[in-house]
Symmetry: D2
Subunit: 386 residues, 4 copies
Amino acid sequence: MSTAVMNYAMIGGGKDSFIGGVHRKAAALDGRTRLVAGAFSSTPERSLESARAIGVPEDRAYGSWREMLSAEADREKHGRVDFVSIVTPNHMHFAPAKAALEAGFHVVCDKPFTLTPGEAEELIALADARNLVCAVTYNYTGFPMIRHAAELCRTGQLGTIRKVFVEYHQGWLATALESTGMKQAAWRTDPAKAGLGGSLGDIGTHAENLISFVTGLEIESLCADLTSFVHGRELDDDAAVLIRFADSIAKGVLTCSQVCVGEGNALSLRVYGDAGGLTWRLGSPDNLVVAPLEGDPITLTRGGDQLCDRAKLATRLPPGHPEGFIEAFANIYLGVVEAIEAKRSGCEPTGLGAEIPTATDGLRGVRFVETCVESAREGNRWVEFS
Amino acid sequence: MSTAVMNYAMIGGGKDSFIGGVHRKAAALDGRTRLVAGAFSSTPERSLESARAIGVPEDRAYGSWREMLSAEADREKHGRVDFVSIVTPNHMHFAPAKAALEAGFHVVCDKPFTLTPGEAEELIALADARNLVCAVTYNYTGFPMIRHAAELCRTGQLGTIRKVFVEYHQGWLATALESTGMKQAAWRTDPAKAGLGGSLGDIGTHAENLISFVTGLEIESLCADLTSFVHGRELDDDAAVLIRFADSIAKGVLTCSQVCVGEGNALSLRVYGDAGGLTWRLGSPDNLVVAPLEGDPITLTRGGDQLCDRAKLATRLPPGHPEGFIEAFANIYLGVVEAIEAKRSGCEPTGLGAEIPTATDGLRGVRFVETCVESAREGNRWVEFS
Amino acid sequence: MSTAVMNYAMIGGGKDSFIGGVHRKAAALDGRTRLVAGAFSSTPERSLESARAIGVPEDRAYGSWREMLSAEADREKHGRVDFVSIVTPNHMHFAPAKAALEAGFHVVCDKPFTLTPGEAEELIALADARNLVCAVTYNYTGFPMIRHAAELCRTGQLGTIRKVFVEYHQGWLATALESTGMKQAAWRTDPAKAGLGGSLGDIGTHAENLISFVTGLEIESLCADLTSFVHGRELDDDAAVLIRFADSIAKGVLTCSQVCVGEGNALSLRVYGDAGGLTWRLGSPDNLVVAPLEGDPITLTRGGDQLCDRAKLATRLPPGHPEGFIEAFANIYLGVVEAIEAKRSGCEPTGLGAEIPTATDGLRGVRFVETCVESAREGNRWVEFS
Amino acid sequence: MSTAVMNYAMIGGGKDSFIGGVHRKAAALDGRTRLVAGAFSSTPERSLESARAIGVPEDRAYGSWREMLSAEADREKHGRVDFVSIVTPNHMHFAPAKAALEAGFHVVCDKPFTLTPGEAEELIALADARNLVCAVTYNYTGFPMIRHAAELCRTGQLGTIRKVFVEYHQGWLATALESTGMKQAAWRTDPAKAGLGGSLGDIGTHAENLISFVTGLEIESLCADLTSFVHGRELDDDAAVLIRFADSIAKGVLTCSQVCVGEGNALSLRVYGDAGGLTWRLGSPDNLVVAPLEGDPITLTRGGDQLCDRAKLATRLPPGHPEGFIEAFANIYLGVVEAIEAKRSGCEPTGLGAEIPTATDGLRGVRFVETCVESAREGNRWVEFS
């Protein structure tokens, strides 16, 4: 394994941010990245304060991402930023991502990727033109057992897929938390910042991405029932989506909700084919229950010898030593590092580098939100997914 | 507690029948019933053979239910049948139920109640006119923790209900079992015997009934996506139904399937209100997880001192001694015995007798199947539930 | 399957008794027994009251077991009692069991069998001499998955057994419940009624019996640490026992406790051999997790096609329909009925009849308690198990 | 929070080492340490190769720890190593730890701390004399829910503690893996390298430490039954230990085993007091089930508002986002960084710095192994724990 350590800069993710900390820990875990610069907040003072807390050199703490991209682009080769991580609220993904790509930096962007499909398409084109990595942090695909699930589905071990259930249920927005000054809640429920989707964008896109990653099925049409249960909330805090897939008999049921009192982060995936079924739950992420058509269910465990190479590559610890959210997230960052290396070597990425969620995944997620909203607006009827 | 032991006769449920055996064990468990007669099969010989195996006197084994009802109606008071249990395939519920009620017998009928709403309405009217009990064995309502769940919902302890998820997933019909000569599969997949619904009628109606029993919500409209995944199967073997409720902000998601490879009988219910949530799973039927809006989830256990009287009345064993399917089913039979006693005393039933699923529940289930099929036929659009 | 229905009488087990009700329901479940007589309580009045509540004819409700055995022994063949169930506190097992056997009745006796090994030996000799069934209700051996576990161990599918862990933890005696007038607690903590063991006799003997039933290993020596945690309690309410087995490298760890706050009835068994391991928990009694030396653990489910015949014979419902405590207990009663039939036919019992816990099992349990107490009294040192 | 980043060197833990990688990831996670030097292997070439793979500057890759300590001690302040992590097999802990402390470096040492109590005492004295941190990586104490468990026990919320069960069961040494050339197995089963204990040293000491950390109880005496199940293995691969505690009515049962086929890393802790009980399992490390004397068990979840500050300080993610082994381990490293800062500021450590397992914990672990071996050698009798 190569030992190149890549430098990166962060946009957003000040010291008290939840997701900024997650990205930093995930990037740090394997010692393959170094956070060297940041535009962590919207004012120079707070950005500097965050830089100090985080351990970034003060001279590379910037008051705006524009300033940062400009200054860093001018740096000489050594110590130069290799990629930029964008962890701002949704409405501030597009502009810095575009500018970063234009400046020649690879990009890691949080999800949902952009506010509109058009923006996503523009970024895809730009990254392609510049031969840059542009990853979207659908981090749940980083779990080794999800990768094994994908391997099982993609290699036909469940037979022809018939049914996919994916749930992503949380309870933290069961009350009007946004009106208490809680930042995380405030921007996620604000159409100007979150975009068209509330729970759909925040967690529904993860669910949609899991279906895609694991099964390879492409959504053909869907029927969505969106709700804003909390009084005064403009965006959905709950959604149920019936799905049909192109060139497939399979059907899907996707539910996401942020008003399920008592649920922390209950993500699960179940896939049933005509030759087997599988169940994965985030609450027990190191396990994958696989049921053959005949015989009893087997509980596969991360770290086991029987797992496919894709799962093994994403694994750090032996069975029974729990891995979690950050480890899965770190597999995305490791993949980005490897994908950048591959770009530079002019090769196709392999291993973890071939698994990263791309801007194309990001675009599909944006379309998914848009299509669900369209279905809901038109009376919760079936609409085509383009 | 009174010690009256009631005599009953069975229609269908020959010695090798699955559901006949379940009814008999459930009825026997508490020593409050005695099976004294039966038209167990469609020929006198096989009915007699079953009677011998089951321990029913040979002179009360009949070759047809018509013959049985006629002969038993003529019996004198002592030893006379108090009620009749109908455990035939769906298409043979209505005629014997009607005849039994007309002959003055109380009736216990398996679900789905009838093939059409009209038949169900006729039976309701008949039972009312004769002041007879007519119960439909939605047996999952017999679980003590389901009764406690109902109490929590009905007394507002979850606040205003927002979301209901009910799942009933099996895998046993993932292949064309009906073409192997397996009787259970054959009639359940035959429209002439099962009625309009396949999985919908067989298990979806249980799911619908659980929503009703626990939450008290009434379905206003629904959108159903039905599938027959197995080649050549005429009826649905999978359904996903989005539900809206009358006079309520609540929404429901009901899924039932018989092609979920690896699932035995995976029934679960989750209800979320603005003040709390609850989760019950058939795989762990003695537990009910209740989550308050603030604080951590509590695992309530059957037999616990804290449970409501409705749950306690339905409980036989202390906590930690598992109760199961038959015990829950037995609570329906105990309820029927108590309800008959109440009828005879001219009182309203109380306790278990007040909890039995009635012909009205049965009618609603039949309408549910019909409405889902209507939705599916009309392009899976939303349709009103009358 | 034969349809003989056997008549039985009960000694103890008045209408409010926990264990009496369990025995009655277990015996009734399959319609193979009829409770026709009883000496339910220590006074004629209360016995009669129980008979009425239970549905036993008043003329066969007796004020003492002596009176009952005498009267019933005089009855003619038809309607005569076939066997007697003894469900009194421990100190009242021996005398009625002896008298019942002497009167020619088969016997079902609750555990622990007797207060002393000598008594148990006397009953064994008596039953042998009269060719009568004398079963002891170690009911946990009635669980189908325990029978499958036994089959796996006995047929070498785990290889040479190395380690056995059995736990039986309850919390209900964490306070001095016996001083509140609670009968169940009072006699179980009273040496005059319970015998030498507290938790050891009440639940530890079940644990010991599970080891024996499943593994076939025979205890060679043990080292016991007994405690009476609750102030003023004379008998142990907690025990930890290290075990060595004859002609085996295997070692065992048995713990039982009635002061484990929060535990209802937490019984579990784990067996590890050099070729595999298995885990069973009462909280999920329909499952057995089996781990091969190579590969991932498989979750076997009651009702599955793959299970051995011993498990299938003990099964009533398909997979996913939970069976529980009473069903397992009923397998003991079914076995007793079959064993009596075999005795009468002069054959060896087969099927369920061959699985019943015998007086010899009962004797071993009494010796187990005695040996643990001996070890504890001698400074918790290792003592031989004879 | 301060942002000081500390430099450290590693002894052992070459690129293919399991535990070396774990330490590095744990240390890296929060961005508070920088690995700047290492004597990773026993030859200069392999140490250099590891340094390259790990990303340590080549000029600070050393062929021996003696060379490294000498060279690093001579370095100027800036960039100088703050602490040394020792992750070699057990027999190579003492000498480098002693030398590192003598050279003025703080020390993090893997467990079991040393081969003999005398060595441990010498290191304690040395660290005290030099005012240096000397931590032993009992990493399971880093789990937030273990810290909450400790808080509950230490503040009397379970009442007087009566019973402690701790289990640590693995299956990976169920065969003679050491004879296959597998390094991890080879040194752990070699008395010259592992010391007196096999499973006892490797995992039993973790179990012992958890009891101490959570309950604060001190072992007074114990009775140990040690086994080497695998033919030809010199050290124990299985142990059962009965424990009594000083100044307490509490008793403990500790079992550890490496021959439990099918178990990955099954560590669990259960504590029962006269006012409540708790259960924690490594397989579900984010949960702690707490049972009050009255009422139903509550499932506490890491990240919850209700948790104590000790748990919150050790937490990175909101509830439902699984944290695992590395995160817990990282809490030890964060604690070491904070403890070193406190030392330098002349204060007592607080927060995470006050929670680190110390050399005194290490000494107790060594004594535990020694005492168990003594008990076993003397016929598995009770021996005092000094």
